[in-house]
Amino acid sequence: MSDSSDAEVIGRSLSEPETFGLIYDRHAATLLRFLGRRAGAKIAEGLVGELFRIAFERRKAFDPSRETALPWLYGIGSRLLLKHRRSEARRLRASARLAADSQPTDRRMGAAALDARVSISRVADAIDSLPDEEREPLLLFAWEELSYQHMAEALELPIGTVRSRLNRARAHLRELLEPSGKKRMKPR
């Protein structure tokens, strides 16, 4: 069973539910890190439990033509995170403070970002103020490095819709970060 695909494991778990434990073994660490990045380690631990409970209950609905269950699990996690928007926003601002402190030594920042007269805390605010339907693809793409195909599976959207939402997110961020720009999205 250990070299079977996720789809085979989930299929088997319909008659032998304990088999579903293998899906946890394969993906729980990735999802715990994903949820932790977004909402913090403490909330992540509770959420990962809820995520796998939901996944187990809905395993019948998993599309067996998919090679991996990870995007499907990401999708369940994304929806659970909606209930923790406040923690996410707090964490994003804390990350901004940390990133600002370490800016000169953090190679990920690069010169371009330093040149842009954009304080990193404005980036955090801008990301936070994006509508959920744009913020989610943005973070799945930038932080989790999911492919378009996998984002489409996670968000249960056609791939073209994911692409256009990500483009809208990019455009919105640019707009929000314009030095002179006073345009704000709806306040939260």
């Binding site: 304990e18 434990g21 890190r33 631990e45 690069g110 793409f141 930038a142």
Partner: protein
């Protein structure tokens, strides 16, 4: 200024306790075990018709300590519960909207045609709880010979329940 790169700059990992993974696995496996059990259902499962399944369910949980079987519930378009199952010890009873399968609530037809016997571990506590929850006691709590201690109660639509605890 690439928005994606700026977003990436805010990516920060949360240190997680490696034991959290183990705890999550243990919780999942326990949950799976509990979910599996109701699949091994008793061979005979009575189904009781009610006018209001939702109200019946909360009464049976409150007054008699029954527990709804997770995932058993079916809901109508208007949000009302159409059918569900409750379990208690090793037994299980279905609750369903009346009219289906030609069965009707005693509240509608004015009579019962059956009653259900349930073994309990602590009959006095069970009885107290039923009384406190407003169950109508139709046979007072008493010892029957030297065999068991028993009482009978009606639920809120008049189905008759007989609860007893065997003497050793």
């Amino acid at each position: 200024m690439n928005p994606i790169d700026l977003t990436k700059a805010l990516r920060r990992d949360a240190a997680f306790d490696p034991a959290a993974l183990e705890r999550g696995k243990a919780a999942l496996m326990t949950m799976i075990q509990q979910e599996v059990q109701p699949m091994r259902r008793p061979t005979i499962v009575p189904r009781l018709p009610y006018e209001n399944v939702g109200a019946a369910l909360s009464f049976l949980e409150r007054a008699f300590g029954f527990r709804e079987v997770p995932t058993a519930r079916g809901v109508r378009a208007d949000g009302a519960i159409d059918y569900t199952m409750v379990e208690f010890g090793g037994g299980m009873v279905g609750l369903g909207a009346q009219g289906a399968h030609g069965a009707f609530s005693p509240k509608t037809v004015g009579t019962t045609t059956q009653y259900i016997t349930v073994d309990v571990d602590d009959i006095d506590t069970h009885h107290e709880r039923a009384v406190a929850s407003g169950a109508e006691i139709v046979s007072r709590l008493h010892d029957h010979l030297r065999e068991y201690r028993v009482y009978e109660a009606l639920d809120l639509e008049g189905h008759r329940w007989r609860f007893l605890q065997w003497f050793r």
